[in-house]
Symmetry: C2
C-alpha cells in the first residue's frame, strides 16, 4: 500500500481527529467516484466488448478534459512508452486531425466518442467529422465507433441510437474529472491491454482508507489537510513531481482534478505539473530560490526497474541515480524551508495506480469540505461556453 511521508511539510503534527463529520458532508454530495467501482457489470461489458474488438490497430478517442486525461494517464503510466495504438484527440486543431488521418487506416481503427453531457461542442464536431469519414470510406459506422455518454437522453445519445452504435453509460453521479475508473478510462485501458480488474482492486483498497474515520489512518485526509493548512500559509501552488517517467501524465490528470474542483469563488490552489529528475534542470532554480509559495508533492517509486548499470562517472544504476537525485532535491528544498511531502509507491502497476487515483480523488473531496467549496461543480466555464455557442450561431 502507498505510504505518505509528511515530515518535511513544515507543519506541526496534526492532532488526531474523528472524520465522521467530514465524511458525512462528503456523502451528502452524493458523488459516485468511490462506490461505482463496485459495479462488476460494467467490467463484464467492457471485457466482452474488448474480446469482440481485439483486432483494431488504432483506437482514437474523441473527447476532451475529463473524457481524455484519464486515458492519456493510463496509457502513459501502464503502456509501453512508444506504444502507437491509442490516440487521444483532446483538441480541435485541424492539423492534429489531418496528421492523425495520415497515420491511421479507417478499416483498422475504432473511434470512442466520449462526452458525459452529450453536448460538448468539440467532441460533437469530431463525431460529425469522423462518422462521415467512416461512412465515406465504405465502412459500417457501428463497426467502427462506440459511444460513452451520460445516462440521460442527449444529442450524442440520440445520434448513437439512430446509428445503432454500442453505447456505454457514464454513471450520473460521477463528474468528468472523477471518471477515470468508470468506463471512460476503463474501456480504453482494456483495449490497450491494461488489467482493469487490478486497477479497480487498488482503487477499492484506497477507498477503504478514504472512508476510515480515524484521521491518522486516512491518507487522503492527511494529504488534503496538508494542502489546506499550507494554502492558508501562502503556499498557493501545489507542484506534483513524480520521480517516474511513466507518471508524467498523472500530473496532468491531477491538474484538472485540483484546478476544477477547488478553483472557485476566488479561492483555489493552482496545480503545477512537474517531473523528476527532468525538471531539476528546468524548474528547480525557481523552486529552491524563488518565492516560497508552493507545496511540493513528490511521488517516489521504491523499486525503479529494470536494473541497468552505469559504470562511469559513478558506479551505480540508473534507478539508484534517480533515487539519489530525488533525495538530494528533497533535502535541498527542505534546507531552503520549502514544504514538501512524499508519496511512496512500491512500483508503478495497475494496483498502485488505482490507489493513487483514489488517494487524490479522496483528498480533493476532503479539500473541498475544508475550504468550504463544492468540489464537484464548475460554474466558471459557462461564460466561455456560452460565448462560443453564440459566436457559432451567428
Amino acid at each position: 500500500m502507498i505510504e505518505l511521508n509528511l515530515e518535511n511539510s513544515t507543519l506541526e503534527e496534526a492532532k488526531e481527529e474523528d472524520l465522521n463529520n467530514l465524511l458525512e458532508k462528503i456523502h451528502t454530495r452524493k458523488q459516485g467516484f468511490y462506490y461505482t467501482i463496485d459495479d462488476d457489470q460494467v467490467i463484464e461489458k467492457i471485457n466482452r466488448f474488448a474480446k469482440e474488438n481485439s483486432d483494431f490497430e488504432h483506437i482514437v478517442i474523441c473527447g476532451i478534459g475529463g473524457s481524455a486525461l484519464g486515458a492519456i494517464c493510463l496509457q502513459q503510466s501502464l503502456g509501453h512508452l512508444y506504444m502507437n495504438k491509442l490516440h487521444v484527440l483532446d483538441n480541435v486543431d485541424p492539423v492534429m486531425i489531418k496528421e492523425l488521418e495520415e497515420v491511421i487506416d479507417y478499416s483498422k481503427t475504432l473511434f470512442i466518442v466520449i462526452t458525459k453531457s452529450g453536448g460538448t461542442i468539440e467532441t460533437l464536431s469530431q463525431y460529425n467529422y469522423f462518422s462521415n469519414k467512416i461512412k465515406e470510406n465504405g465502412y459500417e459506422l457501428s463497426d467502427h465507433m462506440v459511444v460513452i455518454t451520460g445516462p440521460q437522453q442527449n444529442p450524442l445519445r440520440d445520434e448513437a441510437e439512430k446509428e445503432d452504435l454500442t453505447i456505454f453509460d457514464i454513471p450520473e453521479d460521477v463528474g468528468g474529472r472523477f471518471s477515470v475508473l468508470t468506463v471512460v478510462g476503463l474501456l480504453p485501458a482494456k483495449l490497450i491491454g491494461i488489467d482493469i480488474e487490478k486497477l479497480i482492486k487498488g482503487a477499492k483498497e484506497m477507498r477503504d482508507v478514504f472512508l476510515n474515520p480515524e484521521s491518522k489512518d486516512n491518507l487522503p485526509y492527511q494529504l488534503a489537510k496538508t494542502q489546506f493548512d499550507l494554502s492558508q500559509k501562502g503556499k498557493v501552488m501545489n507542484v506534483l513531481m513524480p520521480y517516474s517517467q511513466k507518471l508524467v501524465k498523472f500530473a496532468d490528470w491531477f491538474r484538472q482534478l485540483l484546478a476544477e474542483s477547488v478553483g472557485k469563488d476566488g479561492k483555489g490552489i493552482t496545480p503545477i505539473n512537474s517531473l523528476g529528475v527532468t525538471d531539476q534542470h528546468s524548474q528547480l532554480q525557481l523552486y529552491n530560490d524563488g518565492p516560497n509559495d508552493k507545496l511540493y508533492i513528490f511521488i517516489e517509486i521504491k523499486d525503479l526497474r529494470p536494473e541497468i548499470t552505469i559504470d562511469s562517472p559513478y558506479k551505480t544504476t540508473f534507478g539508484e541515480l534517480m533515487q539519489i537525485e530525488k533525495n538530494a532535491t528533497e533535502a535541498s528544498l527542505t534546507k531552503s524551508g520549502r514544504p514538501n511531502i512524499t508519496i511512496l509507491v512500491d512500483s508503478v502497476t495497475e494496483e498502485t495506480l488505482g490507489q493513487l487515483f483514489l488517494l487524490f480523488e479522496g483528498a480533493t473531496a476532503f479539500l473541498g469540505e475544508l475550504m468550504g467549496i463544492n468540489a464537484f461543480d464548475q460554474p466558471g466555464v459557462e461564460l466561455s461556453k456560452n460565448l462560443t455557442k453564440k459566436a457559432l450561431l451567428k
Copy 2:
C-alpha cells in the same frame, strides 16, 4: 511579423521610453543569444554533417534541461505530430532506456550527446551506457555518436577526443536555456528536416526589434514590461496558453526560460504551461473563478490550416472553431478582470518560431533588468547537485 495585443492587460498604456539604458545593461551581461545567430560557419558545418548522415532512422538525444527542451519544442512545432524519428532522453528513468532500446536498431541510430559543462551526471551516465552498447553491438562509436559541448576542456570533450567523435562547440556565452538557436537545437532540427536557415532568419528579424531603443516598437520589452508591472500587482504566475497543438511544447521551453532566469533571490514569476482549447476543459474554471493571481499570455495563430469542415452541430471549420473558442476564453477572462495579452502569429513556421524564441529570450533579458536580477545564472541548483555527487561517492 508577430504582433502583440496588450489591450486586456488591465495596465494603463505605458509611456514611451528610451531603452538605451536598459539595453546597455543587457549588453554588459555579455550574452550571446542575440548575436551568435550571425555565425554562418556553424550552419555550414551542420548542413555538411546532416548531408553525410542522412540515413539514420532514429536520432537519440542524451541531454536534459536546456540541452533537451529546444529540440523537443522544434520537433513538436515543426515536425509531423506522429514523427517517430527523434527521441529525447531527458530523464534517467531506467524504464525509459529499456523501452527506447526496444524500438531502436543500433545499426540505424545516431546518438547526440549534449551538455555544455561536459559534466552533467545524467548525460554522462547516458553517454557511458550507450557508448558501451554501440561498441558491444559491433559498431564504430564515431559512426554513431556525436557530441555537442562547451568550448573548454571538460570530461565529455576528453572522452569524445579519445574516441575521435565529431564535436560541435556550444558558444561559451550562451547558457542552456538560451541555446535553442545554437547547434544544440539546430543540429537535431536539421536532422529531422527543419529549415534552419528560416529559423535563423526569423530570429534575426526579432533580434532587430529587441535591439530597437524605441519602446513602442520593441515587442520583447513590451512583453517584459507587462510581465513585470503585473507581477508587482500580485500576478505572480504567467500562464502561456498557445491555441495551437503544435506549440504545446513551446510552453515547456518557456517554462525553463522564465523559471531559471528570474526565479532567484526570493523573487520570480512562476511559469505555467497551458494549451487551448484543451485546457479550457481542465484549467479554465480555476483561471476564471479562482484567485486572480495570474497573467495569461495567449498565442493566437491567425491562419489555422488545413481547412477541415464540420457540418454539425454548427457549420464551421475546425480552425474557425478554435479561433472562436479563443475569443470566448479571452472575453470571459477579461470580463472576470483577469489580465491577458495575445501574441498574434500568422502561422507556425520556421520563421515565426524563430521570432517567438527571440521574443521570449529578449523579454527575459529585459525582465531580469527590470527585476534587478541576473537572468543568466542559476545558483539555486548547486546544493541539489552537490548532494547528489556526495551520495554517489559514498
